[in-house]
Each structure stands twice: as C-alpha cells, then as structure tokens.
C-alpha cells in the first residue's frame, strides 16, 4: 500500500482542478468496481454491489483535492502574486515550493516587513519562477499550483504534502480492493472541492441519496509539544469522530463503528475536533437527512507540506472500513 500512497500524494490537484489525480484514481478503481462515473463537478464515483436483503446503500467519501494557490497577477519582473485555494496557513509558506499543473515550479518569497515579529500575510508573498519578466513567465493569472515536498517513508510513519486527504483516497482504494461480497450497495466517492467547503460531497450525496454515509479524512493529534489539547495521537489506531466544527456524528453510527472495531479487535480512538470539518457534514445534510459519521486518520502538521501519519493506523483503517461495509448494518 505504501507505493500506492506515494504515487497519489505526489500528484498536484488543488480544489477545482483534480483532473490528474482523478485519472490516477480511475486507473486503480476501474478494474475493481461494478460501475465508475464522473459527475458535473468532477467527483469520481465507483459503485460496488447492489442492495440485497438486509443491505443498505452506503456512501464513503474521501476527497481528492488538496489545498493550493492560484496566480492573481504577474508583475513586470515576472514575479507572480497569488491567492489561496482552501485553508493555506501563511506561516507554512515562506521558502516553500509549488508545482503548477502545467509542470512549472516556483519558490514562495516574502516581502521585507517593517515588523519582523508578525507573520506575513499571503498578500505579502509572491512566487518566484526564476524568470525576469512578465513575458517569460510560464504561468498566467488563473494558473493553479499545489505545494511541493517529497514523500518520506520513515518506516512506521509516512510524511508528505496532501496526506489530507490522499491517505483517505488510498484507504478507499484498498478497501474496495479488499472488499468481500456484501449485501450493501457501496459508493466509493472520490470527492472534489472539499477544501473549499465540501462542495463535491454535497452534490454527490444528493445524487446517491444514501442510507448511511461515512467520510474518511484526516484529523489532528494532541501528541506534539505544546500543541492543541486533544486525546487523539499517532499509532493508537484510526479515530471514530464524535464531533467536529461542522458536524455531530450520528450516535448510532458512532456506536456501530465502536462495536465493529471491538468485535474485530481493531484498535481505535474517540475523536473530538475543535476546528475543521469533513465531507460527512455535507452527507448528513442531504435531502431528508442521512445518518453520517467519519473515520479519521490521525495526522500531525495538517495543512503543512509535511503531514505525518502512522502506517499502522492506516492499515487498521482499511481493515475496519472493510469490516463495516461488508456485512448488514444494524444501527441502534
């Protein structure tokens, strides 16, 4: 699974411009699914199975898009100003690198500020593509780039940009691969535009109208020095989300996930996230409502170019997800 993860985290695909990552995911899932479609916003939807007696229509969602930047202006000396796509933290930018969809690459530079102690804002930064004039620039207003940082395999821990949420994408692919016959109709939704407001999941959930929905996304951890206080930590198993800023998980879904994990002896943690949301919110609010929850992968340094996950947590997540959707679901 590590080579799959490495392959997909590297592909640039900021919100709204997921074509390259969609192509890679498509080539993985096409041989495994009963039906694969792409909808109006670019969501890739792979269906496996049909509802049989005792079965349910289940939607699983992991988002293909990552945060990135878009060029707003190229000045006469060839420096490009930019705006954010999704939640880009200004403090993670200076000195960073970006890779455009057209292959061009650049460095993030910063203006010299009067006050050296405050964090510069994105408006005080620019992209340096190594050219000297506007006409030599390989990029124009509207061009889109992802952050660039190589994948590192530290053994138990994996590091890359876009673990949020390519790790979820990888987990869905592996779950689809490992899925035994099931009475459920399972929609593996590789969603788009999550980082700008769970837009893809909104329309995908409307189309699918599932009986139950689960997002698979990263969550933060509380195990770094003087960090946010949170019980979730790397290496203690995938997390079962109870609440985040966008959603209260359906308690019946939480119970079902806990009971399934315990029966299969899969380690898990309970998760409460103060800030941040996932596709699960969009699924929950669809049409007449959908019981929804989220299986979270603990991740350090979220929305930085060096997001870190625990490989054991990832493998347990695949195992748990397969257990959850491969047999009749009873919500109590």
């Amino acid at each position: 699974m590590k080579s799959l993860i490495e392959k997909i985290v590297r592909i640039p695909g900021p919100s709204g411009y997921e074509a390259q990552i969609r192509q890679a995911v498509r080539s993985e899932v096409e041989p495994l699914a009963d039906e694969v479609t792409v909808d109006a916003l670019g969501n890739l939807i792979a269906r496996k199975g049909r509802v049989e007696q005792d079965g349910m229509r289940i939607m699983l969602a992991a988002h293909m898009d990552e945060i990135g930047v878009m060029v707003t202006h190229v000045d006469e000396n060839g420096f490009a100003r930019f705006t954010n796509i999704g939640g880009v933290h200004a403090q993670n930018c200076p000195g960073g690198r970006v890779r455009f969809l057209n292959g061009a690459m650049g460095v993030i530079g910063v203006e010299r500020l009067e006050n050296q102690t405050t964090t510069p804002s994105l408006e005080q930064m620019y992209l340096d593509l190594g050219v000297s004039s506007r006409k030599d620039s390989p990029v124009r207003v509207g061009d889109v780039a992802a952050f660039e940082r190589p994948f590192i395999d530290l053994g138990e821990r994996l590091v890359s940009k876009a673990m949020d949420d390519r790790i979820g994408v990888a987990i869905l692919i592996e779950t689809l691969r490992a899925l035994p016959a099931s009475p459920n109709e399972v929609y593996f939704v590789f969603s788009v535009q999550e980082e700008v407001g769970v837009r893809g999941a909104t329309t995908a959930a409307y189309a699918i109208n599932p009986d139950l929905g689960l997002a698979v996304d990263v969550t933060g951890t509380g195990d770094t020095p003087k960090g946010v206080k949170m019980e979730v930590g790397l290496g203690k198993g995938p997390a079962i989300k109870v609440r985040d800023a966008g959603m209260l998980a359906d308690p019946r879904v939480v119970n079902w996930m806990v009971q399934t994990a315990e029966a299969a002896r899969i380690p898990y943690q309970m998760e409460i996230l103060e800030r941040g949301g996932t596709d699960a919110r969009a699924i929950q609010l669809t049409r007449a409502g959908v019981p929804a929850g989220c299986l979270s992968i603990p991740c350090r340094h979220v929305h930085s170019p060096s997001e870190m996950v625990d490989y054991g947590d990832v493998q347990h997540a695949v195992h748990l997800l397969a257990e959850l959707v491969s047999r009749p679901v009873v919500l109590t």
Partner: protein, 368 residues
C-alpha cells in the same frame, strides 16, 4: 461558426437610449435585500410580453422561461440579482425627533455612511445619516472609524410617523451619464438585471433560456439557491457586477490588486470565494470573445461571491460561471461603470449563448 437565422428574435441585442432609460429606472428604484418589489415590478413589465412562462416563487424570485426550437436543447440558467445593499430601520429613539437606529443589509461599506442622504421605504421618504460637526470633534475622534452603533438615520423633526421600523433605506443617488461613464447607485447588480432583460428579449433559439431575477443575493445568495433547485438547469451563468479597484497606488507602484479594470471589457471569473468556475465554460467564453473580437478580462481570483456560488451546488451539481460588468465603488453611495463595458458584456453573453451546443458537456469538467 453556426449560421444564425436573421429574425427579430436572434438579431443581437443593442444598448440604445431605450436600454439606458431602463437602466436609469432600475438604478433609481430602491430594492434592498428582502424587499425587491420596485425592481420586480419593472422586470415583470419588461419581460412579460416575451416570456413563454413567468412566475414568482416563494422567495420573490422572478423566474422566466424562453423555450428554444429543435432537438437536444441545453437548459441554460442565467441569474441576475434584483437586490441592492442598504439599510433597515431597527429602533425608534422615540423622541419624536425623527431619529432612528439602523443596521446594514449586505456588505455596505461602513466608511461611506456619515454625511449621506437616503431614500426610505416605498415612498422614498428623504432621510440622512448625519455626522457630528467637525468643530465639535477632537483629533482622536477623527482618527477613529465611525461605528454603526454611533450613527443614526434622521428623517427630520416631527416626521417619525412617515416611516416605521422595518422600513428599508437606500442611498439617495440618481442615475446620470458622464462622458463614457454611467454613474448611479446599485450598478451592482442593476447592470446584470438590465443585461438579462435584453437577453430574454433576444433569446437565442438553440437553447432553453431560464432567466432568474433573484432576490437576497447580498445576504447569502438565498434566492439563487432555490431558483436553481426549481429550474434544474444543465448550465448556470451569474450576471453580476464586480469591483474595479484600478485606482493609482500612492507611490506610483504597480497596482497588483485591481480585481478588474474599467474599460477592459466584461470580466470572466476563474475563481472567487464561492465558486471555482467550470473550465469548460471559461474556455467557451474566451473562445467566443476572441472569435467575435470582443474585449474581455479575467477577474482576479479570490474573494467575493455571486449567485453562481449557490447555483453550482444544487441537486447533482451544475457547471457554472460568472460574468460581470466592472464597476468602481460598488456597495457605496455612487458607483461608476463604463458604457462600453456594458455593451461588450451584453455582446459576449449573447454570442456565447448562440454558440453553445450540448457537446460542451460531453467532456469532463477539467480533462487533463
């Protein structure tokens, strides 16, 4: 290049004295979000003779259908919002003195309030947002922004009975033309409304044109959400106005955050805070502009939002884009736009609609 039958219905729309009069009526009308009556009346009067179907929905949107001819017609929704930013009277200070507290409706610029005349309610009762005389202010005070809490609307002593709490108030600006420019309040989005009225009157035959004159865009894209759900189009285009911040920098340096520039033509959106435009529609508009020799610009990515933000997320997802006429000083008492930009926006949209075929949706949104 498609052949276009030269009939009255497909002759391209033009901006003449008649359309300028329409814009004047539209901008002089007051329609603060939630109370779009005055503009709705004008819209209905203009389009009723041309519509195959027209109705007002439960939020007050005017929804219009002009059906085309032939097989496999695309259902294309165009939205322009009838509402403007303004104020609402919230509390009568009760001294009979004509003084009311107020709140803003939509993103009114709060640095443009003190010292402005207003029209209040259906009768356009005159009022003012006063300001303390400079003689009575301290230096410190002059350096502090005026909060809405500290300001009041004044309709004059003894006139409290002419207005009531809940009444809306708009800037008291009358439309005028100055050289190449249009000067009025609410160019955002009466320019869009006027443009859409012309497109309805000159609806091309190759599509079903679903026009939505929406309400409450300025307070959360509310009208567009339900309009898109009802109309269920295959493509959605928002017609709006967008800021041109193209003034010179204090030190003569390059203005890198101009958003759009007056005189550079209709602004095609790539991305704002609410929508990542469908690349197929961006391509179609650019190709149309270049083929027809119509000047155009890209609105700088980031910030803001239009009705497209609500439309594209309806039902199973609707490929969407926004096209705006640039305007200076939007959301302030007096805005300025160029007549040429308006003409080119109308021309671009009309040509783009005529050149639309179902083939546009047969490729994926952003095929690599």
């Amino acid at each position: 290049m498609t052949t276009i039958h030269d009939s009255p219905k497909t002759r391209p729309p033009r901006i003449t004295a008649e359309q300028l009069r329409l814009l004047e009526n539209l901008t002089n009308a007051c329609a603060v979000s939630g109370d779009e009556n005055e503009v709705r009346k004008i819209v209905l009067q203009e389009i009723k003779p041309f519509a195959d179907e027209v109705y007002i929905d439960h939020l007050g949107n005017v929804l219009v259908k002009r059906l085309g001819k032939g097989e496999d017609r695309l259902r294309v929704m165009l939205a322009a919002h009838m509402d403007e930013v303004g104020f609402m009277l919230t509390f009568n200070e009760d001294k009979g003195d004509g003084i009311f507290r107020f709140d803003i409706v939509g993103g009114v610029s709060t640095s443009h309030l003190a010292g402005q005349p207003l029209w209040i309610g259906r009768e356009h009762v005159p009022g003012v947002i006063g300001a303390k005389p400079v003689h009575l202010t301290t230096g410190d005070e002059q350096g502090t922004p005026l909060s809405i809490e500290s300001l009041r609307i004044d309709v004059g002593p003894g006139n409290s009975g002419k207005v009531k709490i809940g009444d809306r108030a708009a800037f008291a600006t009358r439309f005028s033309r100055v050289g190449p420019s249009l000067r009025a309040k609410a160019l955002d989005d009466r320019l869009g409304v006027a443009t859409l009225i012309e497109l309805v009157k000159h609806a091309p035959q190759n599509i079903d044109l679903l026009a939505a004159f929406t309400v409450q865009e300025e307070v959360g894209l509310r009208g567009a959400k339900v309009a898109a759900y009802s109309l269920d189009p295959q493509i959605a285009i928002a017609l709006d106005s967008t800021p041109a911040n193209d003034l010179p920098a204090w030190d003569g340096s390059e203005n890198e955050r101009y958003n759009t520039r007056l005189g550079s033509g209709p602004a095609i959106y790539l991305a704002d805070s609410a929508t990542l435009s469908d690349p197929r529609l961006v391509r179609h508009l650019v190709e149309t502009a270049e083929a027809q020799g119509i000047p155009y610009q890209f609105r700088q990515p980031g910030g803001g939002g239009t009705d497209a933000g609500a439309m594209h997320k309806q039902r199973q997802g609707i490929p969407s884009i926004s096209v705006s006429v640039p305007g200076r000083y939007l959301h302030t008492p007096v805005s300025i736009a160029r007549l040429s930009d308006w003409k080119n926006t109308l021309a671009l949209l009309h040509s783009a609609l005529i050149r639309l075929t179902p083939a546009i949706l047969q490729v994926e949104r952003d095929a690599p």
